[in-house]
Point group: C2
Chain length 507, copies 2
């Protein structure tokens, strides 16, 4: 699947589409559904790129020798499934299937070519290297696990869809003690990172076409999961409680996805009063599940709103209403311990946990238990120490990046983040950050254009800079960014890459 | 989600369903679609159990104050999505959402209560304990990984949707050398067990309503993945090439799922000639992807068809046509090394691998890399040794189970398996293996009734017995099974468990 970063709206002619469709009516079922299925599949494989305009109904019907009504119904199915949208006067176009940055980098030939080159400095992924304490434990499990525990682990089947009991208990204790969210082990599901936690929630709660409210911009892995499940994304400005309440009233979403502590990518902290409003909204709308993503909640930074560090951090949503069944909490050890642990969790009522565990059993039968055993000892005994080391690590990198941006790129606008691993910066004027990102990549620095973090996928002057590389690399990267001269037109930038595809599809 | 093992067809009245539906028309979109979505969601959460009969269209329309056409269209959407079926004269009923045995055990209150009890001997899961060489390496990574490798691993982000390069290369070498399937590392994706490999393939290749051909009985994890994706399962007798060809011609499936070496649950080995026929079928049908599941291919048993051990084992499908793009191979280390490694793989053309990697990135961003590094050294250096140990381990257990069955349950019919970890046995007469399984569970032995391994989910006299527990337990388990007296009626067996649910839904 390819994700062109600057996809202008391209057209495909009725005959070209007919050729691509091949033997689409070969299966059982109504013609309109078979046609929709086949077009959807071509979109999935990338043979029809996102954003492409489909032929007018009448023209395609003629090319396929079917009734216009068949094509109209097929387009309707595609719209209902979130695969296409129609606008008055501009026809029907396929919706972008947005995928995670990591996958986009790999799937997009343009990016892939750059990233294969070892010169690139990656500011696109907000991932940390492994904490020394964690690396030590991974390399020497016998230092943290007793011989009896080791042998008890390996005589079992190793299939634990809910997660290892010790780790579920350690996470419950951490939530209860450190985050004021009273939690029992039975209310915890262990997942392969927060990404799987979000993916399982979307799969379990969202039916195709149903609305999902999210802050915009937001964590792109969530957008990806919703798009793949056929959910209909509705964006609201980060932390705007009134806009969230409006969206809930209008769209009756299955899910509301929020990152109150610290928002990704902006690093903003949602104040306590706004959190109380969100919890009240959840209470008044029992059919709407509110997700509180704590993946970066343990990464405060020295900056942020004046005076906020003198007060205790505002509590997670579930601390305000621990027994409200439609407030679900998600978290991860990726940003503090190491992403390579691939360990996250969900905290929810036992009924939801059972549903998610059944979905997890179908997805992978459970995450590897051995590493969960090692991790459970670290969560129990070394958590504070790991957080403190990570805070020092993060602060140093943030300071270098912030000072380099201020001195070398004074025309960029950004609000100092209260926490997290990223700076959300606005390019001057009406610059297109997608074009800028591609020019930067050619200079050896990868950043994420705002478009990839957005529901709308529209042109954006914003971009996300992760400050997780070594300080010397960060300083060099900002120097490189300051020298980048993006072309005036995104089209020109891409022409070399896009010509073959456009030739194929627009004849 | 609950999966009643013996679900009789229950009814729900129009008023009761209206109550359950609650505020279903609260969202945007056509009424019929909202109604279908809400009913589908109630099925997902288990509030409407699988198999339940929905009210007649006219009656529900009256209760909801909508047109009969709205209800008719909603039922049609449910049928199209594989969520319901209608039969002349018996109305519309929800299709069972089948889930894996592990999840079913947990989700079903009846089973869960028994399994919490430590007395139960589990013959239901075909999982092995960890091979000693593997357990040793997990406990002492520094014995197999150099210090440089260890530190190189932990400085990265740890996000590897395709898998660790070393493990991809080791699997490619293994396939090339030991299975005669020439493979490059770029054609390998590492997954969280074969279950995830199958799940990603189903997600990527099957659109809702599309047909999927599978042997019946088969591995229940595959049925689960297809059901959840909304695929339409079409069953054929195991190893029946003519039936497979017919099903392909009639149903034009997205996938054909086969376990030629050794079929789960029967343990049969597909002969070389039949394999050539399957490959030719794939060649003639480029739109149909054929999956060859090798998860238990490295577990031959001493029995099987006369003389077959004197010949080299028949090759995997991909060995017969290594460059045929629609033959995809799936495998796992779960049955030889340990299920707790949660490591499987897909071998496919690079285009499919890229698509699966994008889906895996959205699902979990990649499996944990540290354990992949340990595993890659074992695959490279200790594979033969691990296989030999596992062969001895399996042979001993099989011998005990086979001899106990022959002497204590001579009326059960079964064909000695050529390989694998299970015996597929038929109860005498027209016994219902689901009722038998529940009676056995009350006596402390868990087995899988054939119904759970079947596309049809119909009453079956067959059951699956895994011989993976210690030999003494296996002997005791067969003694227990020989003493089981199932009630004459499955209904009577379940009445205590089912009453509360039926009361809720049938008023």
């Amino acid at each position: 699947m390819t994700v062109p970063i600057n996809s202008e709206v391209a057209l495909i002619g009725p005959q070209a589409l007919a050729d691509l469709l091949g033997r689409w009516p070969g299966a059982d079922g109504p013609l309109y559904r078979l046609l929709a299925t086949r077009i959807g599949r071509l979109a999935d494989t990338g043979e029809l790129p996102p954003g492409i305009r489909l032929p007018p109904e009448r023209a395609l019907a003629a090319a396929l020798a079917v009734s216009r009504n068949t094509v109209a119904l097929a387009y309707q199915v595609l719209r209902d499934d979130g695969m296409a949208e129609s606008r008055q006067g501009s026809g029907t176009r396929l919706m972008p299937h947005r995928i995670t940055p990591a996958a986009a980098h790999r799937a997009n030939g343009y990016f892939a070519g750059m990233l294969d080159n070892a010169v690139a400095i990656d500011l696109s992924v907000g991932a940390v290297e492994c904490a020394p304490v964690v690396a030590e434990a991974l390399g020497s499990p016998r230092d943290v696990l007793g011989a009896r525990e080791l042998s008890r682990l390996t005589v079992g089947t190793g299939y634990l869809p809910y997660g290892l009991a010790e780790l579920r208990a350690a996470i419950a204790t951490l939530l209860t003690a450190a985050h004021s969210v009273p939690t029992s082990a039975a209310e915890v599901l262990v997942t392969t990172g927060a990404q799987q936690a979000l993916g399982l929630l979307v799969q379990s709660e969202v039916t195709p076409g149903q609305a999902v409210v999210t802050e915009d911009p937001t964590f792109p892995g969530f957008l990806d999961a919703v798009q793949r499940a056929g959910g209909r994304l509705v964006g609201v400005p980060p932390g705007d409680v009134a806009a969230i309440a409006d969206a809930v009233a209008v769209h009756r979403p299955a899910l509301v996805y929020l990152i109150p502590s610290f928002h990704n990518p902006t690093g903003a902290l949602l104040p306590a009063a706004a959190r109380r409003d969100i919890v009240e909204l959840a209470r008044r709308n029992p059919d709407v599940t509110v997700i509180d993503d704590l993946a970066i909640a343990e990464l405060p930074l020295p900056d942020g709103p004046p005076g906020w560090r003198q007060q205790p951090p505002p509590p997670p949503l579930a601390a305000l209403a621990p027994r409200l069944p439609n407030v679900v909490t998600v978290g991860s050890f990726s940003k503090t311990y190491w992403g390579g642990l691939r360990t996250g969790w969900v905290r929810a009522p036992e009924g939801i946990i059972a549903r998610l565990a059944a979905a997890k059993a179908a997805a992978d039968l459970g995450s590897p238990p051995f590493q969960q055993a090692i991790l459970s000892t670290l969560v129990r005994d070394r958590h504070e120490e790991i957080l403190k080391d990570r805070a020092d690590w993060t602060r140093d990198r943030y300071a270098v990046m912030a000072s380099a941006l201020s001195s070398l790129l004074p025309s960029w606008q950004w609000t100092p983040p209260a926490g997290g691993l990223t700076i959300w910066a606005r390019l001057p004027g009406d610059a297109d950050s997608s074009a800028f990102a591609q020019a930067a990549l050619r200079s050896g620095v990868a950043v994420i254009p705002g478009r990839l973090l957005s529901v709308s996928a529209r042109r954006s002057p914003w971009l996300r800079l992760a400050f997780v590389r070594p300080p010397s690399e960060l300083a060099a990267a900002v120097q490189t960014l300051a020298a980048v001269q993006p072309g005036a037109s995104g089209e020109a930038e891409l022409s070399g890459d896009r010509v073959p595809t456009r030739k194929l599809i627009t004849r």
